[in-house]
């Protein structure tokens, strides 16, 4: 039997957005460009460019959380805010156990299904 569900599997990704009118980049997507007020059509992204956000980041701050919400069946999780080399920032999970502010990490994206509903894509910085 051929398992068609195995075909066309896409790696999970989280996108950054670039306004092609003025070149300003964003994460997450805005509706109106902060710099030139160009409007983004969320269906077609016409006049906007998307690009996957991954790669080297710098850790700006972090925490280890012990009281997790419903769905997370682990003792604790680490979270952080990072800055990508292109200046964009993001919040996400840390895949390391002893972080320090200013340390260099790498961002990757994985799928999370802890919460009810459809799986979502999340950042892991490690």
């Amino acid at each position: 039997m051929i398992d068609f569900s195995m075909y066309d599997v896409k790696a999970p990704e989280i996108l950054g957005y670039k306004c092609l009118t003025c070149g300003t980049t964003y994460y997450p997507a805005p509706m109106i460009c902060r710099k030139c007020s160009s409007r983004r059509d969320p269906v077609t992204n016409k006049k906007w460019e998307t690009f996957p956000l991954t790669g080297p980041v710098t850790l700006l701050t972090w925490t280890r959380v012990w009281n997790l919400p419903e769905g997370y069946n682990v003792k604790y999780m680490l979270f952080g805010i990072v800055e990508f080399e292109n200046g964009l920032r993001a919040s996400g999970r840390l895949g390391i156990n002893n972080p320090n502010i200013g340390m260099k990490l790498t961002a990757r994206v994985e799928e999370s299904d802890e919460r009810p509903g459809k799986p979502v894509n999340i950042f892991v910085f490690e």
């Binding site: 959380v65 009281n67 919400p69 996400g92």
Partner: protein, 399 residues
């Protein structure tokens, strides 16, 4: 604006665990207290408009349309009633909207009631409900919660200014000392700096929630309601109230980026600063004129940061003032005389109203012995929505 708007009635339930009760009952109880305080229980239909503040009754209690339900419960039909939802800043937003309704001339007397029952769901569910105010894709989906942002903010603040975990504990001790004397406070228990910071066992008593924040750095999960009656002080209806009005001298509100990571400096609470500046300007006062303040200490680090953003202390210096006792009841600028969110509790939709109730109690001289500020003239509240992305500041005055 030319209208003078004053507060002539206050009501408040004992904050705590009210999960056995109906949200509408709890709100109506606080509202009835306010009618009694104002001396208009049998003239309640003189109220022209009711504004109800609530964040998430649909999620916490599976109840909706609670404004009209509460009016009906109080036999106040056909008084108009609407719900104001602005996250944890819903309460102060409702006060602001009521002020604007009166100042517009459309309304002479307005009632504001804030309420939330959060403990009908488990702690895990409650944390999830509150986290739903975060950016869905870029924050909530990652597993982030409000305490997560409190922890990350605290780490940055402590690293930059040299504030320690013991300094955070000192804020909690001060807030609990005040809450111990407040008949409405959720946690009416004293804590000592030895028990939560200095002793060898302190880490067990005061365990981590979101490092470096500990359980005594964080507000409890609380149910309750608070209510106010506002009047146009220059309208004929003002004469029907038995107590002298406490005037709302000014208010200001502002928003900030939904995603915390998109703030140029994650330590800057721009919406707090702007809301405070607007409130000072409208009231015609400066931070030096403020006698005491109720600041949104959902996490004690926020009491410190907000007090700096609204100009009560220099940036990075507020924790030194706490060490010196400057923010205690007898200090230079008492902060969170009610016990704050830390001790009094934080039923999210009620908090902004509850803060203003405390301003009125202090300005009337009605606070309990031991926590009454001496001869206050101006009181300020700051109600903080999201992680600072929607903030309302209010200044009340004793004329």
């Amino acid at each position: 604006m030319t209208a003078r708007v004053g507060i002539v009635g206050i009501g408040h339930t004992r904050f705590g665990n009210s999960s056995a009760y109906d949200l509408v009952d709890v709100m109506a109880y606080a509202a009835t207290d306010a009618l009694v305080d104002a001396g208009i229980l049998d003239q309640r239909r003189e109220i022209d408009q009711v504004f109800v503040a609530n964040m998430a009754s649909g999620l916490f209690c599976h109840q909706t349309s609670i404004a009209s339900a509460m009016v009906s419960k109080m036999d106040m039909e056909p008084t108009p009633a609407e719900l104001i939802e602005n996250g944890p800043a819903s309460g102060a937003s409702a006060v602001k909207v009521a002020y604007m309704a009166i100042a517009s001339g459309m309304v002479d007397v307005a009632m504001v009631v804030g309420g939330e029952i959060m403990r009908k769901v488990s702690g895990w569910e409650g944390t999830d409900v509150v986290a739903s105010m975060l950016h869905t894709e870029a924050e909530y989906n990652m597993g982030l919660t409000l305490p997560s942002f409190g922890g990350m903010f605290a780490r940055l603040y402590m690293e930059k200014y040299g504030c320690t975990e013991r300094d955070l504990a000192l804020v909690a001790v001060k807030d609990h000392d005040n809450g111990l004397l407040n008949k409405y406070a959720h946690v009416q228990g004293a804590c000592t700096i030895e028990a939560i910071a200095d002793n060898e066992t302190a880490g067990v008593v005061n365990n981590y929630i979101a490092e470096p924040l500990r359980i005594y750095s964080t507000c409890p999960v609380t149910d309750g309601a608070a209510a106010l009656i506002l009047v146009n002080m220059d309208s004929p209806k003002a004469a029907m109230f038995k107590k002298k009005a406490v005037r709302i001298a000014g208010f200001g509100s502002a928003t900030d980026t939904h995603c915390v990571h998109n703030r140029k400096d994650p330590l800057m609470l721009n919406a707090v600063r702007i809301a405070g500046e607007k409130a000072y300007k409208m009231a015609g006062v400066t931070p030096k004129d403020i006698s005491f303040a109720e600041l949104h200490d959902a996490f004690v680090i926020l009491e410190l940061a907000i007090s700096e953003e609204v100009g009560l202390f220099e940036r990075g210096k507020s924790f030194l003032a706490v060490r010196n006792g400057e923010t205690s009841i007898k200090g230079r600028i008492p902060i969170n005389t009610s016990g704050g969110l830390k001790s009094k509790g934080h039923p999210v939709g009620a908090t902004g109203v509850s803060q203003v109730v405390e301003l009125v109690r202090q300005l009337r001289g009605e606070a309990e012995e031991g926590r009454q500020v001496e001869n206050p003239k101006y009181g300020m509240s700051v109600n903080f929505g999201g992680f600072g992305n929607n903030v309302v500041a209010i200044i009340c005055a004793k004329d």
